[in-house]
Symmetry: C2
């Protein structure tokens, strides 16, 4: 697929751009590869532009000064992220981090031309703000989970989700990874997993969690 | 001021509405009064529309099943809230609560006509989504405070802000009110205030906090 085909397929405002604007949009777009663990954006540099995940996955999270992390949402193949163009919009002033959780290929449309195009084309601007509203909903969900749900339910919900995603009752993840995912401390995760093990819900070995009682896990996650 | 004058003064997309759309916007707008403590919107009914605060103040917050509250932001006179039109936008699916913190007069434009106008007028739609992006920033700020700042700093920051807002070192607020404001428990607030009192930062009496050492408070809030 050419860049033009890619952009016109994935961005519904394409047909509302003038020929000149389409050309500018193509010119400012590039394909970039990130290795697993690479940062796309950190607290001090938040100006990537809008991007489409072609393959891989991007995790969007916030981080405290002490390094505590909370995952806000993830962007999967064929999904678009516009929140990464924060610097183009004066309404967005918070700092978020983004990292590739797998080797990833992204189609990035950079900020200098976005700024110009958003200023001249109302359809494009509107598309981007609407997309931000969607992420807002994701973020509110993540935060309600963190603030309001008791940790046993959250951990059970996490294991249940992973089981469904991986189509397997064997989950490979370190306690540290789970802690970051759930915005908690490693010790808290280890303690709760030990508790689950005693309850006969999981069995634990190095880097692996085996779900041994699916019904009990599901009941807890509800 | 007539309704038409009010709407055209406060909503910048007014001039981009057709005459017919302007008329519809006027027709679906009403002035409503709320008493201090009245709920404008709760978890189950989140479809007020967009509104402008003419006088008073509206607090926007989330509430857990157990009743714990976290204030996200406040809307003061001449400010507009569009997040209250969540039901009109499929991107917004989270539940927020709103209450009048003072006797308030609001200019409300209801949802049935908003839905129609947002569908037909891109300028209006874009205005509303942009406004939501602003609230998103406010919410991210509130949440970072709650998740990442240690409570003594947050309480000190609150007292410092109140001092500046009220232009007085005497702050009238119950521990319960402060707890709700900061998304904490009353006991935690009381305990920390007691600690501040012992440190010579404040002196406490029923419903009143007197700041006695402004420099020390400021240092803590930083």
């Amino acid at each position: 697929m050419t860049m033009k085909e890619l952009l016109s397929t994935h961005y519904p405002f394409w047909n509302h751009l003038s020929e000149e604007e389409q050309q500018a949009f193509v010119t400012c777009s590039t394909i970039q590869e990130y290795k697993k663990g690479n940062l796309l954006q950190d607290k001090h540099h938040h100006c990537l532009g809008i991007f489409l995940v072609q393959s891989g996955q991007v995790r969007v999270y916030i981080q405290s000064d002490e390094g505590r992390e909370i995952t806000l949402f993830r962007i999967n193949p064929n999904e678009i992220c516009t929140l990464s163009a924060g610097c183009v919009m004066e309404e967005i002033s918070f700092e978020i981090m983004m990292e590739a959780t797998e080797d990833s290929v992204l189609l990035i449309s950079g900020t200098p031309c976005l700024r110009r195009l958003m200023g001249s084309n109302l359809y494009m601007e509107n598309y981007i703000y609407k997309h931000i509203a969607e992420h807002f909903s994701d973020v509110m969900w993540a935060i309600s989970e963190i603030l309001f749900k008791s940790f046993d339910k959250r951990l059970a919900g996490y294991l249940e989700d992973e089981k469904l995603n991986r189509k397997s009752t064997t989950i490979q993840a370190t306690h540290d990874e789970i802690a970051k995912e759930l915005g908690s401390a490693r010790e808290v995760v280890s303690r709760m997993l030990k508790y689950f093990e005693k309850e006969g819900i999981v069995s634990l070995s190095r880097g692996t969690i085996q779900i041994t009682n699916e019904a009990k896990l599901r009941a807890l996650a509800l």
